[in-house]
Structures are given as structure tokens and as C-alpha cells.
């Protein structure tokens, strides 16, 4: 609030001066020709002055913060995870006396793009899956930090670039599969451990549909949910099976997107069989967690946060299970990726304080607090997290293989939106199988050059 008032006064002062000038000018008693010219000059000066004053106001604002050290930290983490982060930050300020300006603004990605374009990044920020490719050039490598040896190997490779630089501090690991409603699966007599292939999954969906429930719910109004389905199913078709996969082709730019047709066919088949909610393109995340929690929906392609939120929204028993395989000889898999990660802007004026903050957050109790709120395992060895009702699932699936997010490793940056866009097109009928394939191929090809550069390949 005080900051606000300060800005208002700054602002009005600038204009006040201008207004006085106008008044002075207007009240000139005898205007001669000479004065007239003078006036026009002054008007021009005044307009330029406004522009300058505005610019000055903007500059002085940013200078204000230099006196006592204030770390600017920005995050994209919503909900319970955000609350936990705020608690940790409050404790940090209390212990060190370093003030923190923290916010988790909506439209985080757009905001960060702007700030990358201006070359003015927050001192610390979360990287939502893009620690290496998008934000890599803006981050300070952290290999020299005392806590590095404790980072879990499961996440370390994901946040390390091709030169071996660890880009961020990974608080927890997002290990995800399908979120499901245990009550419904029990009712139709299906054990999640028996769903080993997508065919098994489709059979289960038929039973669920016959029992009067919605087998799979997608809330496409928040179109990341459409993207998530297109991000989590294709690995089983293209990546996970050692006997038949396209890992190398995807990475070296020779991938033929006709192979993606397998995914399109599967999705189309499910749509035709009525496995999805009727309002795929207009429902939202809120509706998903409510219907999941109240026992109307069986499966969703969402992270464990949806399980947490659904459990808070109704009486249903919620669980998490691996993603089925596509090939008969393959086995189910889980997706692993960045969850809460903090990186330091390489040009930050407060490097020492920022490093101090990372040391603070790396303490086992702080890691545990944030990871628990997210329903995730910790990104550090030796940190036990109480995962509540998900514990049994995590224990049950502890031997399942994990794979990284499809788009973060196997697709050039920017193609996430193509996954959302093409899935939406399949659901609302605006795109045919061939149109999807062509769209993906074209987008993939056009982004290869930038992608190779980011990965250090010539």
C-alpha cells in the first residue's frame, strides 16, 4: 500500500508540474507572435518533458529497491505448494534479515518472456520444466554449491544441461501417471495393477462407462489438460519400448510424424467410444477435481496435485497409477519431471543473498515441507516426505521405470502449444488425422535449427 501511494505521488507530481506549466502559459496576458512561437516550443518541450518524467519515474522506482537488499522471487506454483513456499520464505527473512519480494502471478510464462526480452529477470525464479532449454542462458550454474551432492540422481539429469551445468535447485520431483478414482475401479472389479496396456485401459473404460461413470475427464478450457494427454500417451508409443522406438529420430530431427498417427488413432477411437466427458473443450480444472472427488470420474491425465485437490473436494478414494504400455512386450511407465525448481538469474546484483536463499531452501525440513504440499517425492536424497493417501501407490509403483516429459526432452521448445492445439482439434473435429500429422511435422521442422543450437549441436 505504501509503495502504491509513493508511486501515485511520484506520478501526480510529474503531471502537476506539467499542469502548472500549462496554466502559466495560458495566462500570458499579451501574446505576441514571438511569444507564440515560444509557446509552441514550450508545448513541445512540455510533451517531451512528460515522456521524460514518466521515464524517470519508472527508473527511480527500480532504484528504490537498492538500499536494503530485497530479493525478488517469482514462482508459477499454485495452491498448497505456494503456501508452503511462502512459509519457507517468511522463515528465511526472519533468520537472515533479507527481505523478499515474492509473487506467483498468473500468466507466468508470458511475464517471463517479457522479462527475458528486456533482459531484466527476477533474482530467483521457478523454471516450470524449462530449466535447461528456455531459461538456460539466463541461469547461473550451481555446481559449486554445498547442497549439490545431496540432489537426487533421478532429477539431476533433467535439470543439467549438455555441458554438465546444474541449472536449478530441484525441491521435489514430479512423478506422475494417471490419477484415478479407486472406488470406481473397485466397483467394476479392475485392479490398476492389471491395466498393463492401453487395450487393458480401454477395456476398463468400457466397464466404467457401462457402470454409468465418465471414464476419462479432460477440462480443455484450461488447455494444458489437453496438452497433458498428448504429452503423456505418446511416450508409450514412441519412447518407452526398447524393441520399437523413435528416441534417436526425434532427437536428431529425422522423425517422421506419420508415426504420431498411432496416438491420433487411439485418441479418436476413445472419442468414438464415448470415453470422455461431453464438454472436453469447455470444462475446467475445477470441475475435474470436483467430479473426481465426488466419484463421477474414473481417470484423468493430471499430476498428483489433482489427486490432492480432488481428495479435498469430496469423499472419493483417489489414487495414482502408471501409464499403460502400447506394445505387448513393453511395461507400464511413469513420467518424471521438474516440479518446484529455483534458479538464480546469472546477472543478479544480489548473488550472495540468492545463494544463501537456495542453501536455506535446501535444508531437509524445508524441502520436505514444499514436497509434501505438492504430493511429490523430494528432489534430495535422504528427505522423507509423508505423501498421505498416495503413500501406498508410491510404494506399490516404486519399481516402475520413469521417463521424462515427452515435449521437454524429445520436442523443440514451443511445441507444447502444438500438442494442446492438435488435441483440441481432434476433440472438436476441426482437425483430421492428416492435418494433425502435417501440423506437427511442419512445426517440428521449423523449430529444429533453434533447438539444435540450444542443445549445443551443430
Amino acid at each position: 500500500m505504501t509503495h502504491y501511494i509513493k508511486r501515485i505521488t511520484q506520478y501526480t507530481m510529474g503531471n502537476f508540474r506539467f499542469n502548472v506549466k500549462i496554466k502559466e502559459l495560458v495566462s500570458i496576458k499579451e501574446t505576441t507572435k514571438l511569444e507564440m512561437e515560444d509557446f509552441m516550443k514550450k508545448i513541445l518541450v512540455a510533451i517531451l518533458a512528460i515522456v521524460l518524467l514518466f521515464a524517470l519515474a519508472a527508473c527511480s522506482e527500480s532504484e528504490e529497491t537498492t538500499a536494503p537488499v530485497t530479493l525478488e522471487i517469482r514462482s508459477n506454483i499454485p495452491g498448497a505448494g505456494n503456501d508452503a513456499i511462502r512459509e519457507v520464505i517468511a522463515a528465511f527473512t526472519e533468520e537472515t534479515g533479507i527481505a523478499v519480494d515474492f509473487d506467483n502471478p498468473s500468466g507466468y510464462e508470458d511475464l517471463m518472456r517479457t522479462r527475458m526480452a528486456t533482459g531484466d529477470m527476477p533474482d530467483l525464479f521457478t523454471t516450470h520444466g524449462w530449466a535447461v532449454i528456455r531459461y538456460g542462458t539466463f541461469l547461473r550454474p550451481l555446481n559449486d554449491q554445498p547442497w549439490v551432492s545431496r540432489v537426487s540422481s533421478q532429477i539431476e539429469s533433467i535439470v543439467t544441461d549438455h555441458q554438465g551445468n546444474l541449472m536449478v535447485l530441484p525441491v521435489d520431483i514430479d512423478i506422475a501417471g494417471l490419477v484415478f478414482n479407486r472406488d470406481i475401479l473397485n466397483e467394476v472389479g479392475v485392479d490398476p495393477g492389471d491395466i498393463r496396456t492401453w487395450d487393458d485401459f480401454a477395456d476398463a473404460c468400457e466397464l466404467i462407462l457401462a457402470a454409468g461413470y465418465i471414464p476419462i475427464f479432460i477440462g480443455g478450457a484450461d488447455d494444458w489438460m489437453l496438452g497433458q494427454a498428448a504429452d503423456w500417451i505418446p511416450p508409450s508409443l514412441l519412447i518407452t519400448y526398447d524393441g520399437d522406438n523413435h528416441r534417436d529420430a526425434l532427437l536428431d530431427g529425422t522423425f517422421d510424424w506419420n508415426h504420431y498417427g498411432r496416438f491420433v488413432d487411439m485418441l479418436t477411437d476413445w472419442i468414438d467410444r464415448g470415453f470422455f466427458n461431453e464438454d472436453v473443450t469447455t470444462a475446467d480444472y475445477d470441475t475435474l477435481t470436483r467430479m473426481l472427488g465426488q466419484g463421477e470420474v474414473a481417470f484423468s491425465f493430471t499430476g498428483n496435485h489433482a489427486a490432492m485437490d480432488a481428495a479435498g473436494n469430496g469423499p472419493a478414494n483417489i489414487g495414482m497409477m502408471p501409464l499403460p504400455a502400447y506394445f505387448a512386450g513393453d511395461t507400464p511407465s511413469l513420467i518424471a519431471g521438474e516440479s518446484v525448481t529455483f534458479g538464480i538469474w546469472k546477472d543478479t546484483p544480489h548473488e550472495a543473498e540468492a545463494l544463501l536463499f537456495l542453501e536455506f531452501i535446501a535444508r531437509p525440513e524445508n524441502v520436505a515441507k514444499i514436497a509434501q504440499a505438492r504430493g511429490n517425492v523430494a528432489g534430495f536424497n535422504g528427505v522423507e516426505v509423508d505423501l498421505g493417501f498416495l503413500t501406498q501407490d508410491f510404494n506399490r509403483w516404486s519399481n516402475i521405470r520413469t521417463f521424462p516429459y515427452f515435449d521437454r526432452v524429445y520436442l523443440p521448445g514451443g511445441m507444447w502449444e502444438d500438442l494442446c492445439n492438435t488435441s483440441l482439434g481432434l476433440f472438436n473435429g476441426t482437425m483430421t488425422r492428416q492435418a494433425v500429422i502435417d501440423h506437427m511435422q511442419q512445426s517440428y521442422d521449423s523449430r529444429l535449427a533453434d533447438w539444435f543450437e540450444a542443445r549445443g549441436i551443430n
Binding site: E37, T114, D223, T281, G414, E417, N421, N428
Partner: protein
């Protein structure tokens, strides 16, 4: 007024603003449209006409172009028909007249974005007010904005009805400027109400019609907020207009060069359409 050429200095501030925020960006935009800039990295290459050539084969570009025309001309037509009917209806005196006029003008005060959100409460599949009504009549509920063509229709209707008041008020003013003696003369001569409207009222409303058409057309072609409120960000929703599509290209998929090229085309398209329509309307006014 001979020696007063210096009076022109009065519009210098405006020209400076236009120079900085319209002309310079426009020229810069043309330059960017020849590059493959991704919008935030400092480096890019010039790729000639590639962005413009891609536009020709981009099915989404065709779709948004079609939608823009529907939004622009569709709302103009709907608004003229309903606006003129409303004006004729409200031209004669009755007690509730003021109330009806006020209420039908009220939506103009609402930000179109917020209006879009309110409409979502009505057209939502689960819990939407419209589906409650549909259910009352025993019909199946519909996902009103879930299917492209239906969503385009909903957006078109929302925009048309929200800004119908603009046309209504302009026509009302036009009607009140028509001297009563014309109508009286017509009724004395035994000309029916339909012929009176067609041959006397309508020609006299020509200037109001021009003004209303131009305002509605420009508004419809620029449509942005309602689409943002009622559609997902991805263009395969089939509802995008040129302006929502080009912001998607820039901010969501990092194709600033392509976005700039679409911007140039949009700029030219809307300018040409507006000029042609204004010229046609001028001609029409002369003929009538």
C-alpha cells in the same frame, strides 16, 4: 486566416504520438514480418516472404480470416436489423419506453471481456443457465461453445446484442430528426405504413445508417475480448479472429515473425474494407 499557417502546429502532439505508436511500429512490423524472430531472443534471420507464403497454406489462417469476416459483417447486419427495429419500436411514446431504452443500452457499459465471462455462466455445459432452461423443456443439454460453428454463432450474437444499443440510439436520433409532416403527408395520401417506411423513412435515415454501419463494422472486425473470454487459447477451437490468432502466434508459440506478417495483412485488410464500405455508403447516400 492568411498568415495563420502556424495554427497547424496545434496537431503536432498528435502527429508525434501517431509517429511513435502507430507509424514507426507499423514500419518495424513490416521489417519483422520478413524474419523468423521468436519474440524474445536477440537473434533472428531474414527469411524473405516465407511468412506470407506460409499464410496461404495455413488452414488456421483461412479459418480465422473467415471468422473475422463473419464477426465483422455478421454483427453489422444483425445490429442494423435489430437496432433499426428497436428504434422504430421505441420511436412512438409509451410508458415503458425509457426503461427499455436504458436497459438495452446498459450492456455497453460492461467491459466486453467481463460480458464474455458472464455469458459463460449462461452457456456453460454443466450448471449453465441456458442448459437449465433446455432441460426444463425436456431436451438434451448442449455444450454451446464447445463446437466451433456454434461457438462462433454465440460469440457473434453476444457481440451483436451487447452493442446493439449503439445502432439503436443512432437510428432513434435519425428518426427524431425526420419532420412529422412527411409522415402526415403520407398518411393523408393513403400510403400504407410499409410503403411509408420503405420510401420515406428509410431514405431519410441514410446518414444514420452510414454512421451505424461504419461503427459496427470496425468494432466487429477488431473483436478480441469476447473471443478471449469464451474460447480456449488454441486456434483449433475454430473461433479465433485475426487479432486473437496473431497474439497466439506471438505470445503462445513464439512465432513473432509470422505474427507480424499476419498483423500487416490484418492492418491492410481492415483499412481496405473500411475505406471501401465508407465509399459505398457515401455513394448510397447520394443516390437516396
Amino acid at each position: 486566416m492568411r498568415s495563420r499557417k502556424r495554427i497547424n502546429l496545434f496537431y503536432i502532439p498528435v502527429l508525434i504520438l501517431f509517429g511513435v505508436f502507430v507509424v514507426y511500429p507499423f514500419i518495424d512490423g513490416i521489417r519483422i514480418s520478413f524474419t523468423n524472430w521468436n519474440g524474445f531472443l536477440p537473434t533472428y534471420n531474414y527469411i524473405g516472404l516465407t511468412n506470407y507464403i506460409n499464410m496461404v497454406s495455413d488452414q488456421w489462417f483461412h479459418n480465422v480470416f473467415r471468422n473475422t469476416i463473419i464477426y465483422g459483417f455478421g454483427s453489422t447486419i444483425i445490429q442494423q436489423i435489430i437496432g433499426l427495429s428497436m428504434a422504430l419500436f421505441l420511436d412512438s411514446k409509451f410508458k415503458a419506453r425509457g426503461l427499455v431504452r436504458t436497459i438495452s443500452y446498459l450492456p455497453i457499459m460492461i467491459a466486453p471481456l467481463i460480458m464474455g465471462y458472464i455469458i459463460f455462466f449462461i452457456v456453460q455445459f454443466r450448471g449453465g443457465a441456458l442448459n437449465d432452461l433446455v432441460g426444463l423443456f425436456g431436451m438434451d443439454r448442449l455444450d454451446w461453445v464447445g463446437v466451433p460453428n456454434r461457438a462462433v454463432t454465440v460469440i457473434l450474437l453476444v457481440n451483436s446484442l451487447q452493442y446493439m444499443g449503439v445502432s439503436m440510439v443512432i437510428y432513434l436520433a435519425g428518426l427524431q430528426n425526420i419532420p412529422n409532416m412527411y409522415k402526415e403527408a403520407a398518411s393523408v395520401d393513403g400510403i400504407g405504413p410499409w410503403n411509408t417506411f420503405w420510401h420515406i423513412t428509410l431514405p431519410l435515415l441514410a446518414p444514420a445508417l452510414s454512421a451505424s454501419v461504419v461503427i459496427n463494422l470496425i468494432g466487429g472486425l477488431k473483436l478480441f475480448d469476447i473471443i478471449r473470454a469464451l474460447s480456449p487459447a488454441a486456434p483449433s477451437s475454430g473461433t479465433h479472429s485475426l487479432v486473437t490468432f496473431l497474439t497466439y502466434q506471438y505470445f503462445n508459440i513464439e512465432q513473432a515473425g509470422y505474427s507480424a506478417a499476419i498483423g500487416v495483412v490484418t492492418f491492410a485488410f481492415i483499412l481496405i474494407v473500411s475505406i471501401v464500405v465508407i465509399k459505398l455508403l457515401d455513394k448510397m447516400e447520394v443516390v437516396l
